[in-house]
Structure formats: structure tokens, C-alpha cells
Amino acid sequence: MKRMTIAVRPVLSILLLLSPLFYLHAQQDMAIAGRSKKSVDPFVRSAPDNRQAVNARASFAVPVTGKITDENGKGLPGVTVSIKGNNAKAVITNETGDFSISVPTGKETLVLTYIGYVAQEISLNNRTSVTIKMLQDSKALDDVVVIGYATVKKKDVTGSVAGISQQDIKSRPVTTALEAMQGKVAGVDITSNERPGTLGDITIRGVRSLTASNSPLFVVDGIPLSTGTIDNINPNDIEAIDILKDASATAIYGSRGANGVVIVTTKSGKNGKTTISVNSAVTFQKVHDYNVGMNSADYINYRRWAYYYSNPASFPRGDQPTLANDKFIFLASADPSAFANINKGWASGTWDGSKVATTDWKGMVTQTGITTDNQLSVSGGSDKIKAYGSFGYLNNKGTSLGQSFTRYTGKSSIDIAATKWFSMGSNISVSYGVQEFGQSGAGSSAVSASSSIYESARALFSYAVPYDSAGNRILYPGGDAAFKTIVNEQKYTKDQRTNLRAFGSFYTQLDFGAIAPVLKGLKYRLNFGPDFSVYRDGVFVDGQSVIGAGINRASLTKGQTFSYTLDNLLYYDKTIKQHNFGVTLLQSFTKFSADSSSIAALGIPFSSQLWNALTTTNITPANLTGYSSNLTQYQLLSYMARVNYGFADKYLLTASIRQDGSSVLGTGHKNAIFPSAAIAWRMNHENFLKNTPWVNDLKLRFGVGVTGNSAIAPYSTQGAVTPLFYPFINTTSAGSLPSGTLANQELEWERTTQYNLGIDFSLFNRRVSGAFDVYTSKTPNLLLLRAIPTVTGYTNIYANIGATANKGFDFSLTTINVKAAGFTWATTTNISYQKEHIVSLSNGKQNDINNLWFIDQRIGIIYGYKSAGIWHTSDSATYKQFNANGNVFSAGNVRPVDLNGDKKIDPNNDRTIIGNTRPNYIVGMTNTVSYKGFDLSIFLYGRLKYWYSTGGESLGGRPTQRVVNYYTELNQNSEYQKPIYTAGSGDPYSVILGYQNASFIKIRNISLSYNLPQASLKRTGLSTLRVYAQVANPGMLFSKIKQLDMDLVNAVSNRGVTLGINAAF
């Protein structure tokens, strides 16, 4: 985009002089220019070129004086004036903008540089006195932000809006734009998911709603999405992503703005040179497992102890094994092959665990994941027609066998300015994805059903072996029917999900000012955004599969959603002297419709049929286990008015009001009004700061807004009854039952009022810049699904009950730490702090334990018994007192804290709040070091100060076990309790040892890239060529929970290396 905007820059600069606000709306007509941190920073581009240094001993006999001014003719202090080819003699202008310099001949060229202004070269041509006007760098001015139904220059923004550019998206190897946003924007928390084609979750400024949705609204090219996220968009097609965080900004989207708004602007054609770009990357990934399982010797030892503690009278101590006992506890008769392996440990007659081989089950289901991502795009345009087209192909082979994701994306965008007053455009993106989900646990009736092939492999015993002596696959290695083999599993399950999505954004715009001068500033725009998607999910599970139950089964689900948004917009802009007015009026209608159908059956005759032959001739009625079709629809009707007012480019006001009506709410409660107002003060334009050279930009913002949330499922107010069939002998009779959710016709909008105070700053020649926002919000009529006593005959109800409050800050700071010739070190840090609490619930300030809602506490908390570690033999006098009161404790058991000191652990008096499960702090930091075309960047991401319940370690002795420090007679100062063999579990309090501080900081990515210098590109015909290598997930800086990657909340993450190029012709 650097390439694109150069051509339009002068034009824009002139326009800007005439009317800043005209420019503002002119931006709608054209493609939104992107921003790049690099291109914003003129330092980098105009750094003096040492290679052109000339003889320093030349004489400097000719004095030259001059004055440098800004666009308004005011003297510009601090401008660097140097002689081209000899920057040793540079001078700086004084407070009035004057300078004097001596040059050797008077024919030299002067180079003028100043941050935020376009660098200029002035040929002296023997002049000894010059007056030069410097123009503000249009790059900085181009820095526009999409704020909803309009774009504004960043300097005119009144709300809390953050953006990431295409450069940020490209800076990491990502397959979706959501991943690219992680850690780049203060106040936005994004979790990851390593299964190819599966997205993580995103929340903006934490959560407010207890049970309504907390995911933000996505707006693509002006069209709010009714469903889904932006996973279908090729990240390379994205020009910019803007995130509206505070309510004064998001209130423009009214009922859907409560959780923040993510605005995606895709690329479109630009005036000027036609460019062809190629982006290619290949990524190699390996599984990294934080959860280290016990090897054979450790596990055998562990199970022996577990049996011992289950009944010390019957079983020998773990350190005194006997062959006979091993035969029994390791099911020698059920799987002689596995026991043959254990028997190796007995070869010498005394036990030697090191002789027992450990089977690498996980190695049998993993592979090197290879992702290739290729995109070709072309862009160009004239004054009349601009166009952009791209084609992308992503092929992601997962790190687990059977998992992959293939996505084809195509996009075309055309903007036609037919006449001066009529323009039209279309933007169509289509994506088709095929996700091979691999083994899942869905719908399984099998004994062993884990969520993925990797977890299925983890469940297999390290001492068991895959094949018996005859080479046959052992179905239950280790002989326990709960753990089925994963050998060849990838052949036995197939879960293929395809998704075709076509998304369009069409507009027509009339500029009445171009027709009748009296109507100058009045524009009408019609936006139409259809969004259509079709998905298909085919599942086939062979009877042999880990999740199979001896008989083939298959299911096929198909669905389609269609939604559209139709916006009528009127804009009116007027400038009277220093007063700039802008008015936006909107009427918007959205309709959403989704339908789906599915069929599921057992007894598929042969496996190659998969789900493709579920016919009456293949499947008997008794084997037809399910079939369904469904339809969901809703509508949304909105009106909005917004006024922008600016005075002297110093004082800015934005006020808006929106009315939303939603069909999903109760009659009489469908409509609600969402007002907002924000003011901003560009302090650096005030006289008292104007001449402070170290302040480049300083803007104070204050905003207030009301946003809503009706994100409950359609028909929630209706109390739909659930039909069923009951057989009277063999007469199947139709019956029905009321929904377990008590219908509530009184449901109304959940409304959040938020106040935001923010400051944007750019200091010290823009070497320090950033933004700081503090906010507080209140949601007085919380919409929630609350459990109610079942004595009522119902389990829960949707209701507007209770209030929450939220406060926090977002801080982002970019510093250029070192700025030397050809060398830059820049750091961008994002810190967000967020803490919500429940103010009141249904009956005022009453805690609701069933729903885990407590007054003045966070929304997500852990409530239970506190851990005091484990009981030791030295505590026997104490635990005997508990045992007298009904507890059953012995040395090595988990020890809960007896809060009220009555020597009895009971739920009424001893449960307490352990901690919050939502992080107080989310931090991201990117350090970038640039040297002569090389960029090295390290990205850190972390969540701090929160708790997570890992579930503890049940130590029941039956399933496989990760390496933990558990209690035995020989190891009494352990972290975990003693193992007790049970087919179910052991210690009833084991879970409380799993309540852990979850804070972590992760090294998410290290990237090294090289931009080939223009000089060497000249011969190739390329305009840019960047090659890069990246390392993803190299490790944790620190993590309190060692067995999990808390970024993913999973034990397994993918580590990988990406190699890629970006080229443009």
C-alpha cells in the first residue's frame, strides 16, 4: 500500500488544505488506505544515506540562510537541514524555523527532513536564501480509521479505536486474521486453537454478560456479519482491521455493540500502477506436549502403589512388587503381549523397571505438519475504475494424523465512478474450505472416547505394545477395555467438514453536490450485504475405530445460512469557517435465516460408502438413528443518526443515537435506544503546546455510550415444547414435554453504559507514541440464563436480572529505542487490565452459589474447598478429629481447609472463593530490530493474575498418568496425594489440588525477514521482495501451570518454522 498511496498523496494533500472533512468522506469512495508502522515512520524512509558520503575535507565557503515553514506558513522549528551526500554538516532550524548552513559551491542540494512531514530536496542553484514550505506527510494523514458507516482520520477519532495493518497481519504466519490480531491490540484477548481450520475465541475488554454471548460484532466492508467470524477471509486480502473498543464508538452498532466491534476492510484497487503481488509461505510444525506421561517403569510403579493403597491388606507395597501381583494388576490374561513386556523387568528374578520398553503411542499418530499458503493478487485502477482481484490457496496438513485443512479463497473488488455524482462498487469474496477434522469424540457410544487422535494415543499404556507376537493388531493394548488401540485409527474415522461461503458488499453512491451546487456535501449511499454459506459435515466411524462400537456408523449434516443487511445512508457535510459539521443518517434492516438437515445411521454396509449412501436400500429402519431438519430466522430493524462536529481542528464532538428492534425479544420489549457522545481535544494545536517541540501529537478523549446485547437464541421467549416419541408396547406415540427453560415474555435488551477517558500521544519526534484509555461500565439489566430450583418444574430461565460493573485500562506504547544509521530497535507494548464484578443479582445483594455468581466478585470464579496440601502422618491427631465427625482422612489424602474450624469438612461452611478465572492482565510485546533491510521481531504474549482449575490428579491408578510428584511411604513430602486404585477415581478432594495460578507469558513468535534493496531489484522487474523465516511457539517465558500451554488451554501445541516470500511486480 506504500506503493499505492504515493501517487495519490499530492492530490490528497491539496484536498486536505481545502477541506479536511471532504477528505474524510472522500475516503469512502476510494479504497481505504492501509497503514504500516514502517511507512508511518518517515525516519526509516528518509534516513541519511551514508554510502553517498563525499570528501569531508571539501571547503564550505558559501553561506546559505533560509526559513522553513509548515503548510500555514508558520516557522517550523527542529527541521534537519543537510547537504545531500554529506550529512556530517547538518543543521537544525531554530524556534522561528530559520537556519543557516555553509555549502561548498552553492550548487548543492539540501535535504530537509522532519518527522511527520514529507522529506524534501531543494536544489540551491546558487541561491543563498531560500524559503521552503514543508508539507505534512500524507502517510501520517492517510492514517484513517474505520469507525462504522464512515472512516475518519486517526487524528479526528473521538472514541477508543485501535487498528492493525496488513503489515501486522503479515508479520506472523497465520491462516486466519483472528490469529494475527492476537496480542497486537490492547484490550483484545484471543485464544488459539491448533486443530487446522478451527478458530479460537475473541473477547474485547473482558466479559460483561454472564450468559449472553460475549463475542464481538464483526463488520466486513461495512456489513455487520450475522453469523460466523472472519475465518473465511484470506488474511492476505485484508487491508486493515479496526477494533472499536469503547461504547462511544461501538454504540453506533447499538444492540450488537456491547462486546466491541471488529471492522475488517478488505483490499480494493487503487489508482496508479498496476501491481501484481505474490505471497507464499511454507510452515513445518511438530507437536510439542507439555504433559509428559510416565514411562513404563514409572507407571508400573505407580499402579502398584495405587493397588497397595486401595487395600494394603491384599496388595504388596509399590516398592515390594511380586510377579503374581503384577500378573493380576496388569491384566496378564487379558493382554499377554503387554505382560510379556513387563515380564522383561522380572528377567533377573528381581524387579528392574528399566528393562521394560516404553511404547511411543503418540509418535504413531503424529506427523510433521506442513502448511503451504499461496496467494496471488493483482490491483490497479484509474480515476474511473479501480479493481482488485486475488486467489489464495491454503493447504494445512495437521500435526496429528488425519487432520488437515484446505482453503481456496477468491476475491474481486470493483469500484466504478461512472460520473462525478454516481459511483458504484462491488466486493465479493468467496471461500471454500475442506477441514478434515480427524478423530473426534462426537456422538461416540464407545468406551474410550477422547476428543482427538492424539488424546486417544495419550490414553494408551506405555508398557503395552501395539502388536502381538503374531503381528496382529491388539485391540485393547494392556487388556483394559476402556482403552482401545489407535493403530491405524486414521483409516477408521473420517470427519470431513466443508464450508462454502460467499460474502458480498455492494454499494451505490450519489453525490448530490456534484449535481446541484446547493446540495454540496449531501450524499446518499445504499449498502447491500448478502452473506451466504453452505456447510456439510460428514462423519464416518468404522466399528474398528477408537470411538467405534463394533459397528460402522455415519452421519451427514448439511446446512445453509443466508443473511443480508440493507442500509440506506444519508451523509451531509458542511464547513463554515472553522466549524466542520457532518451528519450521518441510517436506516438498516437485517434478516437472518438458517436451515439445516441431518441424517445418522448405524450399520453402513461397507466403509467406502462413508456417509454417501444412507439410503433406504442400505440402511434398515432400526439402524436409522437420527434425522432432522431445522429452521431459524430473525430480523433486526435499526435507525441511527450521528453528528460530527469539529472546531478549528482542535475540538471534536461525535454524538449518535441508534434505535434497534430485534425479533428475538419479547413483545413490547423489542425496541431500545442506544445513545452515545464523545469529545476530543487536540491539545497540541493549542497555543500553549504548539511550540513545545517534543510534543508531536496529544489528544484527550472522553466518551460515553450505551450498547446492547440481545444475543440470546431466537425463540427464547416462546417456551417451545419438545416433542418426543414414547412406545406403548410397540405403538410409537407422539408426546411432548415443556422446555426445561421457563419461557419469559418479559425479556428485554441488556444495556451497558460505558465511560471512557483516553489520551493519544506522540512525543519526542514521534519516537514515543501510544494511547492510554481508562474505562468503567455498568450493565444494570443483565440478560442471563439462570438456574432455578427444579422444584419449580423447570431448570432455568432467561431473565434480565442483576447488574455487573466493569473497569479497566488499555495501554499501548510504541517506542523507538534506538535509531541509528540503518539500525532501528522499536518496541510495541500492549497492556490491558480488566476487572468486572457482579453488583447485584435477582434479589439484590444475594449470592447465587448454583450459578457461581457472587456479589462483588468476578464473573468467572472457582468456588470450592481450599487446599492445605496433603495430610501427613504427623497430622494423625488432627485428621482423627475430622474422622470422628464423618470425614475419612488418612495420611497422604488431600487436605481441605476447615474454614470454620469445626473439625468437619462440609459444603455449607467450608467452601469459599478460590480465585478468578479471567485474567486481570493481558500483555503483548513486540520487539523489532531492523538493520539494512533485515527485520528481526520477537513477539511475546501473556495473561496474568488468574486461576485455572486443572481438575487435579485423580491418581486412580487405572488410566495413564502424567509425571507428578505423588505421595508414597517413600515420598511423603509430595505435591500430590497418594494414588488409590479404583476403576473410577480416588480421593474425593483431589480436584482442589488442581486450582492453580494460571499466569503465563509465552514467546509466540520470532521472525526474521529481509527486504531486498531496490538497487538489486531493479534488474529483476520486481518492486519489492521480502523473504522471511519465522519460528512459532518456541516456548514459554514462564508459565505457572507446567503441564498445559495456557494460551491454548491444552497440553499440546504446535511448534514450527515458516519460510515465506512476499513479492510485488
Binding site: S333, A334, S445, A446, F512, G543, A549, G550, I551, L566, F589, L602, G603, A622, N623, T625, L631, L637, S662, S663, N671, Y715, Q718, V721, P723, L724, F725, Y726, P727, F728, I729, A734, G735, S736, L737, P738, G740, L742, A787, I788, T790, V791, T792, G793, Y794, T795, N843, G844, Q846, N847, I849, N850, V888, D906, N908, T982, A983, G984, G986, P988
Partner: protein, 650 residues
């Protein structure tokens, strides 16, 4: 000018678009086209539909999952944990049996599972009663059948609640909004409501549609049961005023039911399941049953077949198959069951428990047709077998070939119970085994009906009433004998009967998932191997002539439990008879709890429960979710208030 025309046209278009869409306020109306709303239940069709739904909720839904057996069979003299501890707390009365049950795996039932199911079903019953009462219809289908069913459902669920929890909130009106203020009604009030509701059902319903539908006889059976419960020991603190009248009403109710529900001729035919909805599910003896069938569109899933099966698939030469079921191995048979029968003359043990399997994973020296597993349920002091576990040694009589796995209850002359506990091996209760499952050997969806009430129990209810009347001075203990002897007579071996014959639901294999040749089902029991008597086909007699001389097996229990008074002896005999007849049929815990014999019997016969069980365990803990969710006077309960509302000891 041309462009002005266009401009005007566009403006008009724009105005049209705005006005048309803004005029249509109705665009925000929400129409639910794919489901019916609650107003449906104001119609007669809706009331009938709801009643059908309540059948599912009250009768069928509880048998999908583990809470029913956990609360009715665990922790008794009949069964203990059979290997899998998922719900062991209910058997062992351990620390874990509390108002919050810490799930130890996904199979663990939560403390509120039973409570929630019963109250949700009561909510449906209240809705039926409210709407059927309000209905303007004059049809019998609404005013008699649906209304009668509504009363029955409510009483049925409250009887279960009061039997499990004692005092419980009494909710008889439909909720239309959030209600949080609840207190526990005294058992006296709950029983009064139960009896009045069963009485209403009895008066409204007619006969002729059982056992799938609720009949007048079903109402009579349960009304008698409710009277008997109210008159039982657990209510002795307050039932003095109602006791005599309650007991007097029981036998006449039972007599009428018995008259129209003759016992099946052979005990085995009750369990001889060959196909869904087959003959054994329609025997006249059955008064009421929870309905399941093959039609996959029906919602019911009967998973009870999983829980009683003992592990067989981990033994040498055995693998899992359809006919011996998927052995979840939750309910292990106690030695009480091995001793309480007259194993020679009483056919019921041999018809209720699976004692033989064929080899189904043949390899040398075994082939298909050989016996893979045999349980020898012998008597103490038997010296024939040197060990409780004998592999490849004991020959199978008819072929002389060795049996792969033999397990012996009393090996080596042993007179103490418990030899089989070493390996957690036990003969499975076979009443629920289901090989008709369509999804193969691991399918959990069972298709067999579950008998809720059959006239054998009606006999025993009447007998118990007679015993209690005798204790109160009305009539004599001998009055109970005709009722008990009727049940025992059916359990005798008939003349010419093959005593080694055996049948269970394994005889109904669907063809899915595994070759029939690999089935381990064997239509033979270990009667002769266990009893070590010559083959005989003469009839046996179980008749008890005098209350002074009870059968030896009962005298054994009486002496072990230390009973001496005639009432205690007769009640013990009756409870033993209930165990012999109704083993595993989801009644035992409530029988023992109401008669306050639970603690003594569990201590004597349940190895896991013995160390822990106390008197407090005769009631279940009130779920913490209820205590945490309710309020009193607008405020949540304090810890002390909750403790006060909780049953003592939890």
C-alpha cells in the same frame, strides 16, 4: 436535465425503500414455525401429548443412566460395587456420599440427578392436572385418563422422593415465574398428598390397557404400597394415627390386583426376552412397565443392561460379544444372594443369575462349544474345589473337556464369605441383559422394558401388611403365609423341569456387529455343578407351613442379624422373600430404609458399606444445588440455615 430526472427517480426509490421497510413493524414479529408453544397444553390434544411425555419422563428417562440403580440397589444386602467405582459412594456410604458428589468420571451421578428428575416430572404432572381440570372437554380421555395419569405421576414421584429424602418441598401448582422460597414439608403431609393423589388416580382410571399404560390396578398396587410405606418403621414417630387404617386397606386393594394379574407359570418366563416387545413383556403378571422398543425414533434408552454384567471379556479365551453384554460391572452380587435361596429347591437364583458362558475366543486347547466361564455357587464347607479360581482344570461333565475359567463361591471347605471378592468376580444378575441392541456389542441403548410393578410384589405387599397387622394385634402372622407361599410355589421346580435350563436376554441377539458364532451365550446354568446332586426332574416344594419353622436359609439370616421376636423374624423372612423374588428390581434400598433394616443388613452383607453405614444413611442428602438455590424471606440461606434444612449427618 437528464441527470436531474435520474436523481429524482433515485430519491423516489430511496423514499420507497425507507417507508416500506419502516412501515412494516411486523417484520419484528417472531413466528416459531417449527415447534409448538406452551399454549398447546391448553388444548385437549396438548394434554394427551403432555401425558405421553410424562410417561417418558417418569418411567423411561430414569433408566437411562446410573442414578436409579445407585439409589435403589447400591449399599444394600443384595449388591455392592462390582469393580467399577464410578458411583461407589452410594454403595460404601463413604465421605463422597454428600450433598455435593465430586464427579470422579463422566459416569458419576451428581447429587441432584435423582432429585431434579423427580421434581421435573412432578412439574409435568402438575401441568397435566391443571390443564385437564381446566379443560372444557367432557371426554374420558381428558377428564379421566389424562387427569388420572396426572395424579398418578405426581404421587409416584412424590413416593420416590419421600422414600429417598424424607421431608421434601411439596409443590402442587404450576410455576409461571421464578420461585425461590421453598421449605421441606413434613413426611406426613407428603404422604397425605401421595395417598390422596393415588386415590384420585384409582377412582379415575380403568383397567385393560396395561402394562404400558397406567391402569386402575397400577394405581391400586401403588396406593397399597404408599399405605404400607406410611405404616413402616421409618415413619413410626408420627404414623400412629393412620397406621391401623392404612394397614387394613392394603390387602383388599392387593386382592383385586392379584385377581386380574395371575403370576406367570414359570419364573424364567419373566426374563426370557427374545425380541423387543416380545411375549415376556406382556405377561399378565406385569402391572406396569417402563416402555422401550426398537424404533429408533422413540426417545427411551434403557442402559440398565450395562450395570449388572460382570467382566467376562478380560478372561482367557473370552472376548466381548453382544449376548453377554457390555460389562460395566457396577453391581456385584453379595454373598447374601448366594445364601438366601434354597439353592436346591428354589429355581429363582438359577433363573436370575448367569453362571455359564461359552468360549468365544477360541485358541488351543479350546474350541467353540467349550465352556469358557462357570460360577460354582456352592455352599460353605464344600471341599470339592481347591481354589476360588480354577483355570483349565475343572472338567465339563457332558464333554469331559476342561472349563477355561471356573470361579467358586466357597473353595477348599471354606465356610467364610468373600472368596470371589479377591478378583471381583461374580455371577451377573441377568434380568436386564439385552442382546437385541442394534448398535453392536458396545451399544448402550437397550430395548427391553423394565417392569415397575408385577403381581408377585403385590402378593408380598399384602403379606407384609398382614405381618404388620399381626404385630398390631389384628389377625395372626400365619395370615401372611398364603400370600408368600403363592409366590414361593411359582418358584419351585415343576415336575419334569430341566433344572439346568437357563435363559436370559442374551438369547435375543441382533445380527449387528459380531458373528453369531462368537457369542458366549449358553442356555445352561451351574445348578448341578454347584449343588453337587444327581440329576432330578421331580417337583420341589417351597411351601412354608408354619411361622415357627422358617426355611433354613431364612433362619440363617435371622440368626446372623440376631432377630428373636416373631415380628422381627417374619419381617426378616418377608424381606428375604422380596430379595429372592425382586433382586435388583430397583426396590431394595427403599424397602430396607423404610423398614429401618438397612444398617443391620448392609453391615452384615455388604463388604464396602459395613465399615461406614450409620443410621443417618436411611435418608439421602438433600442436594446442595437445592439448598444453594433457594431463599428464605428474600435472602439466600446462611450456612447454618442450610445445615438445618439438610438431613442430619450430611
Amino acid at each position: 436535465m437528464k441527470k436531474y430526472n435520474f436523481l429524482i427517480a433515485v430519491l423516489l426509490l430511496l423514499a420507497t425503500v425507507i417507508t416500506t421497510s419502516s412501515c412494516k413493524k411486523s417484520v419484528l414479529d417472531e413466528t416459531l414455525t417449527t415447534a409448538r408453544g406452551m399454549s398447546y397444553y391448553a388444548t385437549d390434544e396438548g394434554i394427551t401429548s403432555l401425558a405421553t411425555g410424562a410417561y417418558f419422563s417418569t418411567f423411561a428417562a430414569p433408566f437411562n443412566g446410573e442414578w436409579y440403580y445407585s439409589n435403589t440397589n447400591y449399599g444394600t444386602d443384595e449388591f455392592h460395587v462390582g469393580g467399577d467405582n464410578s458411583n461407589a459412594q452410594n454403595n460404601a456410604y463413604s465421605n463422597g456420599l454428600a450433598s455435593i458428589i465430586t464427579p470422579i468420571n463422566s459416569n458419576t451421578i451428581l447429587a441432584n440427578a435423582q432429585w431434579d428428575n423427580l421434581y421435573l416430572s412432578i412439574g409435568y404432572a402438575n401441568l397435566i392436572i391443571q390443564n385437564a381440570t381446566a379443560s372444557a372437554s367432557a371426554s374420558n380421555a381428558i377428564k379421566k385418563t389424562a387427569l388420572g395419569e396426572g395424579y398418578f405421576f405426581r404421587a409416584y414421584n412424590y413416593l420416590r422422593l419421600v422414600s429417598q429424602y424424607g421431608a421434601v418441598p411439596l409443590k402442587t401448582k404450576v410455576s409461571t415465574g421464578i420461585e425461590l422460597e421453598f421449605t421441606r414439608a413434613a413426611p406426613a403431609d407428603v404422604y397425605a398428598k401421595i395417598i390422596s393423589d393415588f386415590d384420585s388416580a384409582y377412582n379415575l382410571l380403568s383397567n385393560g390397557t396395561g402394562p404400558a399404560h397406567i391402569t386402575k390396578d397400577a394405581a391400586a398396587h401403588y396406593l397399597a404400597k404408599a399405605y404400607l410405606s406410611r405404616a413402616s418403621e421409618i415413619n413410626d414417630a408420627w404414623n400412629a394415627t393412620t397406621k391401623a387404617a392404612d394397614l387394613a386397606k392394603i390387602a383388599p386393594l392387593c386382592d383385586a390386583v392379584i385377581a386380574s394379574h395371575p403370576l406367570a407359570g414359570n419364573f424364567a418366563s419373566l426374563w426370557a426376552y427374545t425380541a423387543p416387545d416380545g411375549a415376556n413383556e406382556r405377561l399378565p403378571e406385569i402391572i406396569l412397565s417402563a416402555q422401550f422398543t426398537a424404533d429408533a425414533s422413540t426417545n427411551g434408552t434403557n442402559t440398565q443392561h450395562l450395570y449388572y454384567a460382570s467382566r467376562y471379556d478380560d478372561l482367557p479365551f473370552m472376548q466381548r460379544d453382544l449376548t453377554s453384554d457390555r460389562p460395566f460391572s457396577r453391581l456385584g452380587t453379595n454373598y447374601y444372594m448366594y445364601r438366601v435361596y434354597d439353592q436346591v429347591n428354589d429355581s429363582r437364583f438359577w433363573k436370575s443369575f448367569k453362571t455359564k458362558n461359552l468360549v468365544n475366543k477360541p485358541s488351543a486347547p479350546y474350541a467353540l462349544g467349550d465352556v469358557g466361564i462357570m460360577y460354582v455357587i456352592n455352599q460353605p464347607g464344600d471341599t470339592r474345589f481347591p481354589s476360588y479360581k480354577l483355570l483349565n482344570t475343572v472338567p465339563y461333565g457332558p464333554t469331559g473337556r476342561p472349563i477355561a475359567n471356573v470361579y467358586v463361591a466357597y473353595p477348599n471347605g471354606n465356610i467364610n464369605d468373600g472368596a470371589l471378592f479377591a478378583d471381583v468376580r461374580f455371577p451377573s444378575l441377568s434380568k436386564f441383559i439385552d442382546a437385541s441392541r442394534v448398535g453392536g456389542m458396545n451399544d448402550t441403548r437397550g430395548l427391553r422394558d423394565i417392569t415397575l410393578a408385577r403381581s408377585a410384589e403385590t402378593y408380598l405387599i399384602a403379606a407384609e401388611a398382614k405381618i404388620r397387622l399381626a404385630a398390631a394385634g389384628t389377625g395372626s402372622y400365619a395370615d401372611a403365609l398364603p400370600y408368600i407361599n403363592a409366590v414361593r410355589a411359582r418358584a419351585q421346580y415343576q415336575s419334569g423341569e430341566n433344572r439346568a435350563a437357563y435363559a436370559d436376554g442374551g438369547a435375543a441377539p441382533s445380527s449387528n456387529g459380531q458373528a453369531v458364532a462368537l457369542n458366549s451365550y449358553m442356555p445352561e446354568n451351574s445348578y448341578y455343578e454347584s449343588n453337587n446332586i444327581p440329576v432330578s426332574t421331580t417337583a420341589t416344594s417351597l411351601a412354608v407351613a408354619s411361622v415357627a419353622t422358617l426355611p433354613a436359609s431364612d433362619e440363617g439370616v435371622i440368626s446372623k442379624l440376631g432377630y428373636t421376636t416373631p415380628y422381627d423374624r417374619m419381617l426378616c423372612f418377608l424381606l428375604n422373600e422380596r430379595a429372592r423374588e425382586l433382586a435388583g428390581e430397583f426396590k431394595r434400598w427403599e424397602d430396607l430404609s423404610r423398614t429401618k433394616t438397612l444398617v443391620a443388613r448392609a453391615k452384615a452383607y455388604n463388604p464396602d458399606a459395613a465399615p461406614n453405614i450409620k443410621d443417618i444413611h436411611m435418608l439421602r442428602p438433600i442436594p446442595q444445588t437445592f439448598l444453594d438455590g433457594i431463599q428464605s424471606g428474600g435472602t439466600a440461606l446462611s450456612g447454618t440455615q442450610k445445615q438445618t434444612m439438610q438431613n442430619p449427618g450430611y
